[in-house]
């Protein structure tokens, strides 16, 4: 089937928005802040800052495409972060990394198990685990806001610098690229990935084809947990090795907003890994660009909110138009006598 211009426009709309934003900031940068915005250093910094969010996004995308959602991500990675720091200080880095990732997988899988068992929309389940995890993290650290530091070796996994020209690329970005590639491969090339889409698109048909919907849901959350764990390792590295209870909290909203902005549908039914990457990057660019222009940070929230609502509005209107077009019948009513 040949695609019309409008089809291409729809597919690459958000990429276009990203490019336009980049141009706008590049023009406004020198004009408002008196400094050049569009240079390698700024772009690399931006990438470094957003690497862990994109990795989280890979996990969230699996959950969203499969028809679910997750409010607990941020709290989950904060728990995992604190545990890794504590484990490293009490044993060694290998134990810390392996147990950290395993813990992320288990905690996320727990969400999946509850979802499968109770069969209620995961909003309420992940809201519950969010509270539990928040409390658990404070209990682990003794109730006071305490910062733990990881070793240099740990820090270097996501936070070592690779000098490129005037800027520096952090290894976290390389990990990010690897994770996006792995995520895309699973999603597009394996039958597990097919079933993720299938589950978000039509769980009844999945059940009738003999795939266990319950097992699929647990598996999706567990897989997402793996990406969450990796994301926190990168996050700790880029943050310079300091870990406290708050590290990562709130990221779930940024990532979900980014995924939705990019075109991943809440509740399943479509979207690609690249949609999420672009969406998260748009949010990152808005954030970074507006800070660069010295715009009051509260305005950032307003702009971000508007962008999200605009994206949802556009998407809904398109879906509605398509649905209405499909309902139209050709011909005319029979003449009454």
């Amino acid at each position: 089937m040949k695609k019309g211009i409008s089809e291409y426009l729809k597919d690459y709309m958000m990429l276009l928005v990203l490019v336009v934003l980049l141009i706008v900031f590049s023009i406004l940068g020198p004009a408002v802040a008196g400094r050049s915005f569009f240079n390698l250093k700024n772009l690399l910094t931006m990438l470094n800052q957003n690497a862990y969010l994109v990795i989280l996004g890979v996990g969230i995308t699996f959950i969203m495409l499969g028809g679910g959602m997750d409010l607990s991500t941020g709290f989950l990675i904060s728990t995992v972060g604190v545990c890794m720091a504590l484990l490293e200080s009490s044993s060694n880095i290998v134990v810390a990394l392996i147990c950290g990732i395993l813990l992320a997988v288990l905690l996320s899988a727990f969400n999946g198990v509850m979802y499968s068992w109770l069969q209620v929309f995961p909003f309420i389940i992940t809201l519950g685990t969010q509270y539990i995890l928040n409390g658990a993290t404070y209990l682990l650290t003794g109730g006071i806001s305490k910062t733990n530091y990881v070793s240099n070796a740990f820090k270097l996994i996501g936070g070592s610098n690779i000098t490129i020209g005037s800027g520096a690329l952090k290894t976290g970005v390389l990990v990010m690229i690897l994770m996006v590639v792995i995520g895309s491969f699973i999603l597009n090339k394996t039958y597990f990935g097919r079933n993720v889409y299938a589950l978000g698109s039509n769980p009844d048909a999945v059940a009738l084809s003999g795939v266990s919907v319950a097992k699929m849901r647990v598996a999706i959350f567990a897989l997402a947990g793996f990406f969450f764990g990796i994301a926190q390792i990168v996050n700790i590295g880029t943050m310079g090795g300091a870990v406290n209870q708050g590290l990562g909290i709130g990221s779930e909203f940024t990532v979900m907003a980014g995924a939705m902005l990019g075109g991943v549908k809440m509740g399943g039914g479509g979207g690609k890994m690249s949609n999420m990457v672009i969406g998260v990057m748009i949010i990152g660019l808005l954030d970074y660009g507006m800070t660069f222009l010295n715009i009051n940070q509260y305005w950032k929230y307003v702009v971000l909110g508007i962008a999200l609502l605009a994206a949802v509005t556009m998407d809904t209107l398109q879906t509605r138009a398509a649905a209405n077009a499909a309902k139209k019948v050709t011909g005319s009513a029979p003449a009454a006598k």
């Binding site: 597990f192 097919r194 084809s209």
Partner: protein, 504 residues
């Protein structure tokens, strides 16, 4: 009764859907103080007719006269204004509210919610009906029979003058039916016009004064119930000419491929039949008879309570659709293709290979070449008309082509026993014929086809044998020589209640 003025009069009602005339110039008058049965087979147009009265649908032609006022279409508000209330098969109650609150829902009894007054209204109505329901019980704690009485009470509390009951007895126990009938007679005596839709003919004779028959959207006739009998009604309901043609089949009927022995589950009891290789076994019954339900048990998507499924003479332990498809070679083409049959948002090839993904994957990675081959093969055998298989999404296809995708997706499992549930519902004549040819092809290959259908012509034209379902049980079996529309309908419309009475 004829000297009375009709309270509700429908004239020349037309309703056209794409490709189907749902109602063709149907005219029926309803009088106050009568119970008027509306009967017809599945798809005769009963529901559409009711929806025209309640204002859920606007007819494409004709007029509706209520209380001497003539409209070209009703609206729900207008219907309410004239005191027309309908109780559907699915209850329309708010299950967390009490019986009294439901009855008074939407009425303003003063500035604030007046629990005492509501309770009194409900209590009076229940007393009037002679039933013992506590007005304070939340509706979700009531039995289906009591829920229905709450529905009726709700309707009656609004000065109802036309009460429509759509298959009201289906969810009720025998005792509850008696209570319902008592209430209906009482309302009739108070001058309410009652439209009673039921496929249980014995109930029509027991309760109604007049009976109107619809067939394929045509109005057939209205009779005084006491002047007619069961045989005559059935004759009117089925008196259709067989016009469709079916492709010839040249298949050898072989050994038994699928056998059910007292299979029970999903609400259906003790179903036994055999289906042979090379044969089309038709499964007939009215909507809600449990045909789809038992097939889901066979397919493993619903749990079995007791009984046995035998495949090729050996007991089959089917616990999931995966077992059915990959261990025992049974596939199912579900009736609701959009909800259960396919993934509308995905492409044709995506759908066609979905059931066999594991087989064409190596270490979970899908082999793109094999995928294309399978999609290509079934795209061709099914004659799916689309620009290309790889990029065309299923939702952009016509109903017929969508159905071919669903069938192809099932056949890709290379099953020997193929269960079709309403194989041609909602698709055009050309695509229907292609599906019939395909079914013949399967039989000629020696496969066993089980076909649930509500389309009488298709049933008689395609089946080698027919199994008829009553209400959640087996009603009988007919060989080709015994096929007749009358016999099938007679078997299918015998209710449990009748059986219980006969036994008593």
């Amino acid at each position: 009764m004829t000297e009375k003025q009709p309270i509700l009069s429908l004239k020349d009602i037309m309703k056209v859907y794409p490709g189907v005339i749902a109602l063709n110039k149907v005219s029926i008058d309803f009088y106050p103080g009568e119970v008027h049965a509306l009967i017809g087979e599945n798809g005769a147009g009963k529901s559409t007719f009711i929806k025209t009265i309640t204002g859920a649908h606007a007819p494409d032609g004709g007029t509706i006269t209520v209380d001497g006022e003539t409209y070209s279409a009703m609206t729900p508000a207008l219907a309410r204004k004239h005191g027309i209330e309908c109780i559907y098969q699915e209850f329309n109650l708010i299950d967390v509210l009490s019986a009294a609150e439901n009855i008074c829902y939407g009425e303003r009894l003063g500035k604030l919610v007046d629990q005492k007054k509501m309770r009194k209204i409900a209590k009076d109505l229940f007393d009037d009906f002679g039933v013992d329901i506590d007005p304070d019980t939340p509706v979700r704690n009531l039995t289906p029979g009591h829920m229905q009485i709450v529905e009726i009470a709700k309707a009656v509390s609004k000065q109802t003058r036309v009460l429509i009951l759509d298959e009201p007895t289906a969810p009720l126990s025998v005792a509850e039916v008696e209570i319902l009938f008592r209430i209906v007679r009482r309302l009739r005596d108070q001058g309410v016009a009652i439209i009673f839709i039921s496929h249980r003919l014995d109930e029509v004779f027991e309760l109604t004064d007049r009976v109107s028959i619809l067939r394929d959207g045509e109005y057939i006739t209205t009779l005084n119930t006491k002047d007619t009998d069961r045989a005559e009604l059935i004759r009117y309901m089925v008196g259709r000419e067989m016009t469709a043609t079916f492709p010839p089949r040249n298949a050898q009927i072989g050994e038994v491929a699928l056998e059910l022995r007292n299979l029970t589950g999903n609400g259906v009891k003790n179903i036994s039949f055999q289906a042979h290789r090379g044969e089309v076994l038709g499964i007939s019954g009215l909507v809600g008879a449990g045909r789809t339900e038992i097939m889901k048990v066979v397919f493993g998507s619903e749990k079995k309570q007791w009984g046995e499924v035998l495949v090729n003479g050996k007991p089959a332990d089917i616990r999931s659709p995966k077992d059915a498809m990959h261990k025992y070679g049974i596939c199912l083409i579900p009736e609701d293709r959009k909800r259960e049959g396919c993934f509308l948002g995905e492409t044709i090839s995506w759908n066609l290979v979905y059931n066999v993904l594991e087989k064409i994957s190596h270490l979970t990675v899908v082999n793109a070449k094999k995928e294309a081959e399978i999609a290509d093969y079934y795209g061709k055998t099914m004659r799916i008309k689309a620009p290309d298989l790889k990029n065309t999404k299923v939702m952009t296809l016509s109903g017929g082509n969508q159905q071919k995708v669903v069938v192809g997706k099932a056949l890709a499992t290379q099953s020997d026993i193929i269960i079709f549930d309403e194989p041609t519902r909602g698709i055009d004549v050309g695509a229907k014929y292609e599906i019939y040819e395909l079914i013949n092809g399967l039989c000629e290959e020696g496969k066993c086809v089980v076909m649930i259908t509500s389309d009488m012509e298709e049933l008689l034209g395609m089946s080698d044998r027919i199994v008829v379902f009553g209400e959640k049980c087996l009603a009988g079996e007919l060989t080709k020589e015994e096929f007749s529309q009358e016999r099938i309908l007679d078997m299918a419309s015998t209710s449990d209640r009748e059986t219980v009475k006969k036994e008593a």
